[in-house]
């Protein structure tokens, strides 16, 4: 009995190791779980980037699976992400909505003219109030909506090739979306990465 109790310190030590391992390996401090996950995308009323007089509402973007990408020209990671969004736009028919977040309209238009426009629709949130509705706390952030307008996945940080392949494309395929056009596959995939 007393011999067995000699192992208690070792047990405690292993327990501390385990807690430390779990604590550090599971810690995703840069990825807050979205409070919207599993919930309906909120209603909104925002201006269109290309036509500021035109109002865009929730009804305009729901009804089919969609990616809502929060971006800004002041955000360096968005620049890194842009190429992947262009690739996604060319290989998949998912509805891409850009949410230009706390940005200057002219800089945003210039950006899309310079680097290409992957979006089907771009709406603007000049003061970040729509961002607060969405629980956005930086850029880039990307929401995946199903056809019913529910948020099924959220990515904080850039959508890169790995995130597309592992997280987004399978979910879109599950919704019955085309995630890679067969004919253009070769040439389009050729210059990525």
């Amino acid at each position: 009995m007393s011999r067995l109790s000699l192992f208690i310190p070792l047990g405690v030590f292993l327990l501390i190791l385990l807690v430390g391992y779990l604590g550090f390996s599971l810690d995703k401090r840069n990825e807050l779980p979205s409070a919207l996950l599993g919930n309906s995308f909120p209603t909104f009323d925002a201006a269109d980037l290309f036509a500021p007089q035109t109002r865009v509402t929730r009804e305009d973007i729901v009804g089919r699976p969609a990616l809502v990408n929060v971006w800004a020209t002041w955000c360096p990671t968005c620049k890194a992400e842009h190429e992947e969004l262009m690739r996604i736009a060319s290989i998949s028919d998912v509805y891409l909505v850009g949410l230009n977040y706390k940005d200057d309209r002219h800089l945003a238009l210039q950006w899309l003219a310079d680097y290409g426009n992957p979006y089907d629709r771009v709406i603007v949130d000049p003061d970040g109030s729509l961002g607060v509705e969405l629980g956005v706390y930086g850029a880039p952030e990307t929401f995946l909506l199903n056809g019913a307008g529910e948020v099924v996945y959220k990515r904080v940080g850039d959508v890169n090739r790995r995130i597309w392949d592992d997280e987004i494309a399978p979910r879109l395929a599950h919704m019955g979306m085309t995630v890679a056009h067969q004919a253009s596959g070769g040439e389009v995939l050729g210059h990525a990465d």
């Binding site: 007393s2 109790s5 979205s34 970040g128 607060v132 629980g135 706390y137």
Partner: protein, 157 residues
């Protein structure tokens, strides 16, 4: 020459300091209808955790999102006339439990709440285990005591 260099350094330091002072003193200017409203605003922004900066409340952070949330809290209190609890619910619905420094007891947080009590029980168990072992070691049963007495007697004779 030396004096001039020193002077230059002093001037450089001072201008640097005043630049920092200006950056820090960039405060939000808000209008309130009453002092009660302002006090509620001030205590509310102390209460929420900045989503971007991990361990600063939105009152103490200069992150853009903290500024947005302060503006949101101001609007909710002054324009929308929400109660403190309604403001808490509003932010929690959008940013999750993370923004609350006092998280609720639910399916996701129960482990954090329960763990101290579990550890206390484990600690008490360990203490009890050692205490009992010690006491058990001290007393001998009747047969062992007889053997011990016999051994001691043999030694003496």
């Amino acid at each position: 020459m030396l004096i001039r260099t020193l002077l230059l350094i002093v001037v450089a330091l001072c201008s640097g300091l005043s630049a920092t002072a200006r950056a820090v003193s960039q405060v939000d200017i808000y209008h309130f209808d009453s002092t009660e409203q302002r006090e509620r605003y001030n205590s509310l922004i102390e209460e929420f955790r900045c989503p971007k900066c991990l361990n600063i409340n939105i009152a103490g952070s200069d992150a853009p999102i903290a500024r947005d949330l302060r503006r949101t809290v101001h609007k909710l209190v002054v324009v929308d006339g929400m109660t403190d609890q309604q403001v808490r619910d509003f932010l929690q619905a959008r940013y999750g439990d993370f923004v609350l420094y006092d998280p609720p007891f639910n399916a996701r947080t129960w482990l954090v709440w329960v763990m101290p009590f579990v550890l206390a029980v484990v600690a008490l168990g360990v203490l009890f285990f050692f205490a009992r072992n010690k006491r058990g070691g001290k007393t001998l049963d009747a047969a062992s005591q007889d053997r011990l007495r016999a051994l001691l007697n043999r030694q003496q004779s």
